[in-house]
Each structure stands twice: as structure tokens, then as C-alpha cells.
Symmetry: C2
Subunit: 375 residues, 2 copies
């Protein structure tokens, strides 16, 4: 399958072999990244952003790519993550298809795409790979590590596996382990892809891309990324215009259905289905309790978190998030505090659900700006 | 397609032709029903139950069928709906496949199943059909009309279209119109069925039943019928036993996935996909605002509700219901009160989501019993 790499993307070669947490290793693997601002002489003004499942490394416009990025309002000169002060790095996750090595990449040992021969992917592998990029820049210690959504998991794994690697941390709509509602949603998304005959156990090409499965997965994603409250006000029961009737039996009729359809159209064929499956499963597997002094039992998440050492941390999320609910950000703050950090939990009354950090900059921007101003 | 009719089911022939709200009519149609208790001489002790999307008329064991029903704990001698006092009728919804006429039934004009030639189905049609069953028993006025979930919609349509037909009303986890989150979920369930090649525009048989689509639809249903809170305690991150590994790539691994799988297995091939599509869409279409003095605009739901005349009403629901959220039951109580009813809204702190009325009898039972005791 094709990869989807924005212009201006830069690459960092990972050590080869690069060992994977659950076994196996990658050879000649790479991580895609972009940067904003200047690294100062002391190399102590670096901020790393680790992302959710689908974004690339192009968080905002920069010299290499003037197109707006997925966090354009948050990142730039004078913006909440102020690139006049900070040297900001954003990495594309290991396992993705936006430039970093993943199941859609060519396996150097065969000359063909990995597909399902890619080794099992863990959140921890993504964290280790991101850490390699930062170390490759000669940065010993980040000023701040920022993780959103899945990136909130990646950031916690990064901090735990690489002690002393960051002074501060902002965890945005993240979690220290996956809970059953989120697992159920992601399991269903994966099942939709697996049930699509075109998926064919991962062996598809552009002509046989499993479009139906990816449409379903994306629509279910969007439903859980936003909130019922927002949609009541935004769509209500408004119908599609009558000059665009959907003649299919049981076809689209309401605006909310058309909104989901638009999201699905913009996503399918722009993301590799195997990469989606690998990244999705890595979130289900993630459990910081595994790192709680060798114990793996449930309920040790706080112990796992308490093993992390940062000076200062902020955990924020949206009150309407059903996928990474607020109590998970509260848990992160509690656990980091138990580990000695000055950690704050700030629940934000945003109507925009899990995706609020991408769109509700009015609420998320000042909180991030204030935290960074204070370090 | 096969229909699925419990033993002991009784049938009421609808007037022929039976006109449908959105156009068309049914000939020789029937409604399946069951009864419990005895109708008194004054014929004033009748309680009618209208159901959610999937149940049949067998709400509890009775003389015709000793098997436990879907509301066994709620209905019977000495139970919250006490059949020593009340004559209880439960109808299978028009459009279903559990005995009442629906898309899986034979069209008398062709001798073949209706499939997609069944006329467009509205909640109001189901209400009119249920009203015919009650009138056919010589009951002019119900002591109480009880509607659950979709049945909560049916009950409101019944009361509005048949003034004076019930003294009191209990609306359980119902709503006066569908909101966009619920529409989105149901739209995705229908899309899963429509995308299954076996659905074939409604033209399948037992050998080509669209099992994949129905599995997806059911799993998504179960996810939205329960609550994240309940699942945290019930499943946590517990894995399946290691002696039952799922060897499929990205196969089941967590207990919550196996739970969904079990629900799907018990549902597919026991419900007709076309009936599912028709009933699902009827919920999306339902909007009591249409009945607000001829106006059809959004926001007139309260006016529609205020046109209903009952003496006393109770609207209850679960705090964790994401499909028919509590504010919808509050709206029902507010609207009925504006219409002159003594109407109470009782939010119940149940962890079990939309399905709580089926399983959390500890909370729902006493409230229903108290209301019925007071009339």
C-alpha cells in the first residue's frame, strides 16, 4: 500500500536492528518528523509532541511546508505552544503510514510491504522510537513532552522507559490504560475492516482497498470523537437539502449522516488499513500497570504512574469525552503526583468530546499556554 | 425470510386495509400479542406494554408459554407490574418479525415476502396497530400505557393519536424525538447491514443471510445499550482464558470482546435484517414536534407533548444511558405536565445504561410498582 507523506517531512533513521517490545525487530526503520522554532545553545528549550492514531508530523505550517497543519491554531509564533521560545518537534508514530516505518512500508528483507508480517506493535515501541529522534538531535532532556489521545499513552511510556528525559509533561485527553468501552469500540472498528472481503488478511492494493471497512471504522471513530451534546446544537434533526436525495434504500437523510459520510470520504484511501489495525490494537494493549514494579495486575496503574519522574505535569481533558473519559486524566495527575511531580488535573467543560483539543482552542489553548509560560 | 414466533403467541387481525402514515396500506395484517392476568368486568384494569426494537410479545411466562420472558422479573403475580391486579397486554411491534406483520411477512398480493416492498414504517403506525389490539378486546381506556425505549416513542404517539385512550402513562428510557447521536449510531448499524453483500437490497434467504452486517449492527447496539461505567467494573482489562486463543489476525483477546461476540451470536439469524432496517429508521423519523399544532419545526417537541392528555405520568431513565439520555425523559415529563398531567421525572442512578430497565430491576421495579399502586 501507498504511504502518505506530506512534503517537507524529515526522517530519522532508527538504530538497526530496532527491537520491539513484544518480540521481533525492525531493520532500517525510520521516523518521520517536523520541527518549528530553534533549538537553543543549552539544548533545553525542546518540546516534543506525540500524536493520536491518525495525524502525520505536520502539526503546523513551517519552512518545509506552508500548508496549515492539524494543530495549526496551537503551534507557532505567539501561539499557545510559542515557537519563538520553544523548539518544537512532532513525530509521526511508529507503525503509521505517514512517513514512519509501519505495516505499509517495504520490508528490506523481502523488498515487499510488511503487511501482517510487521512485528506486533506496542505503544512502548512508539515511545522508544520517538525518544531516538530526540536523542539524535542531541537533546538530553525535553523542556516538555506533550501527548494527545494515543499520544498521551505514548508520552507516559516514554517518561517511564526513559527516566530523566523530560522536565515537564502535558497529557491531553490521554489515559494510562485502555478501558473496556474504548476497547469495544476499537475492536468493532477493527472487525469492520477485517470483515471487508477486500481486506483479504492484509493483502490488498490500491485497486482492492477495503473501502467499506475503513468507512465504517472511520464513522464509528468520529461518533466517539465528538459528543452528543455538540451534535444536538449543531445538527439537531435537520434534513439534507431536498435537491440532494439519496436514492439508495435506507440512504442518507439527516445532516448528521452526511457529516459522517464526509469524514469517511476524507479518510479512506488516505490511511493504510493495516497500519490502522496495528495502531488501534496497540492502544488496547497499553497498560501502565505492567510497569508497576513488575506486577501486571489490574489496579496498579497508579503504581505504574508513580514510577514516572517529572518536575511538573498537567493532565487535561474534555467533560464530554466518552473515549478517554475525564477520570482517566484525573488518574494520570493523581499517579504522577504520587511519584513526586507537581501535577495538576484540569477538567475542561468543552462540548466537543475527545476531539476537543483539536478544535476547542479557546479552552485548551490558554491552559497549555499558561503551563508552558510557567516552566 | 423466516419469522421468529414464540409458542403461545396470539394474533389480532388489523382492519384491512390498514393505512400507513407515510403512504400505502397493509392488507390482512396482524399483530402478535400475549396477555397476563384477567380483564375485570369494568374493563378498566388493562395495562399495555409497547416494546423496544427487538423484543417479542413474550414479556413473561404465562399459560401459553412457560418459558421466562424478556421482562420476567417485572411482570407477574406480586411483581412490580402485578398481574393479580392488572390485565396486562404486550404487543409485538408492527414491522417486527416476531409474529406481527412486517417486511419478512408474506405480501398477500404476491404470495412472497414483502422485503423492501413493505410500505415505509413509522412509529405512529406501530401505535395505531397496538391501539387496534386494545380496542379489539373491548377496552376503551387503559389504566396505564407502558413504553420502553422505542416503545416510549410508540406510547407517546399512541396517546397523542388516540385521545382518552389511557388514564396514566409510564415512559421508560424513551424519547419524544430522535437526536443526532442516536441517529448516527442507528445510521451506522443500517449501513453495516447494507454494506454486507449478502443483504443484496433485501433479497436474501436463510442460506445467504447477511450475517456480518447483522453482527456489526448488534455489537454496536450492545455497546450503546450498556455503559462504560458498568463495563469498567465487569470486564476491566481481563483477557480471555489462554486455552481459547483466537487465531485470526486481530482476533478476540479481551473479555469485553467475547461478551459482544456472544451477544451477536445470540441475535443474528434470530432477527430479520429488513425488519431491523425498517424499525431502526422509524425511530430516526419519529418527532413529536410534527404533532405540535401543525408545525413541524425543531423545538416544538414540548408543544407536541403538551397536546397529550393523561391524568398521571412517570418518565424514568438511567443516568448512564447514552442512546436515550436522561434529558429526553425530563423533556417528556415537562411536556406532559404542560399538557395538564400530574407528571413526574425520576432519574435513576443506574450503571447499566439504556438497557437498565431490563436488568436493573432493583432500581426500576420499585418505581414502577409505586406508580401503579397509586392509580
Amino acid at each position: 500500500m501507498t504511504e502518505f507523506i506530506p512534503p517537507g517531512t524529515r526522517f530519522h533513521a532508527l538504530p538497526s536492528p530496532f527491537p520491539m517490545k513484544r518480540g521481533g525487530e525492525l531493520r532500517d526503520a525510520r521516523i518521520a518528523y517536523e520541527t518549528w522554532g530553534e533549538l537553543n545553545r543549552a539544548r533545553d528549550n525542546a518540546v516534543l509532541i506525540v500524536t493520536g492514531l491518525s495525524p502525520d508530523a505536520h502539526a503546523a505550517a513551517n519552512a518545509g511546508n506552508a500548508e496549515p497543519g492539524w494543530w495549526e491554531a496551537m503551534l507557532g509564533p505567539g501561539k499557545p505552544i510559542d515557537t519563538d521560545r520553544w523548539f518544537v518537534v512532532c513525530v509521526n508514530s511508529l507503525g503509521s503510514c505517514k512517513g514512519s516505518t509501519g505495516p505499509a512500508s517495504v520490508d528490506p528483507s523481502t523488498g515487499k510491504p510488511y503487511r501482517l508480517d510487521f512485528p506486533e506493535l506496542s505503544i512502548e515501541d512508539g515511545a522508544d522510537a520517538a525518544h531516538e529522534v530526540v536523542r539524535g538531535m542531541g537533546i538530553e532532556r525535553l523542556a516538555c513532552l506533550i501527548g494527545n489521545s494515543m499520544g498521551g499513552m505514548t508520552a507516559l511510556a516514554y517518561l517511564l522507559r526513559h527516566p530523566g528525559s523530560a522536565r515537564t509533561h502535558i497529557n491531553i485527553s490521554g489515559s494510562a490504560h485502555a478501558l473496556p468501552f474504548s476497547i469495544a469500540i476499537r475492536s468493532l472498528q477493527r472487525e469492520a475492516i477485517r470483515l471487508d472481503p477486500n481486506w483479504n488478511n492484509g493483502d490488498y492494493d490500491e485497486a482492492t482497498y477495503p473501502e467499506s471497512g475503513m468507512r465504517m471504522a472511520r464513522k464509528l471513530g468520529v461518533i466517539t470523537y465528538r459528543s452528543a451534546l455538540e451534535w444536538d446544537g449543531r445538527f439537531g434533526r435537520v434534513r439534507l437539502e431536498s435537491d440532494r436525495p439519496d436514492e439508495e434504500p435506507f440512504g442518507l437523510e439527516f445532516q448528521v449522516e452526511s457529516y459522517l459520510e464526509g469524514h469517511a470520504r476524507r479518510f479512506v484511501r488516505r490511511f493504510d488499513p493495516n497500519c490502522y489495525l496495528y495502531l488501534s490494537r496497540s492502544m488496547d494493549w497499553f497498560d501502565l500497570a505492567e510497569h508497576a514494579d513488575g506486577k501486571q495486575a489490574d489496579g496498579d496503574v497508579l503504581q505504574g504512574l508513580a514510577r514516572i519522574r517529572v518536575d511538573k505535569a498537567l493532565a487535561i481533558g474534555a467533560s464530554t469525552d466518552i473515549l478517554f473519559p475525564l477520570q482517566q486524566q484525573q488518574q494520570i495527575a493523581d499517579g504522577l503526583r504520587a511519584g513526586g511531580a507537581e501535577a495538576e488535573f484540569l477538567p475542561l467543560e468543552s462540548p466537543q468530546g475527545h476531539d476537543a483539543f483539536l478544535v476547542d482552542i479557546e479552552r485548551f489553548g490558554p491552559v497549555v499556554a499558561d503551563f508552558l509560560a510557567g516552566i
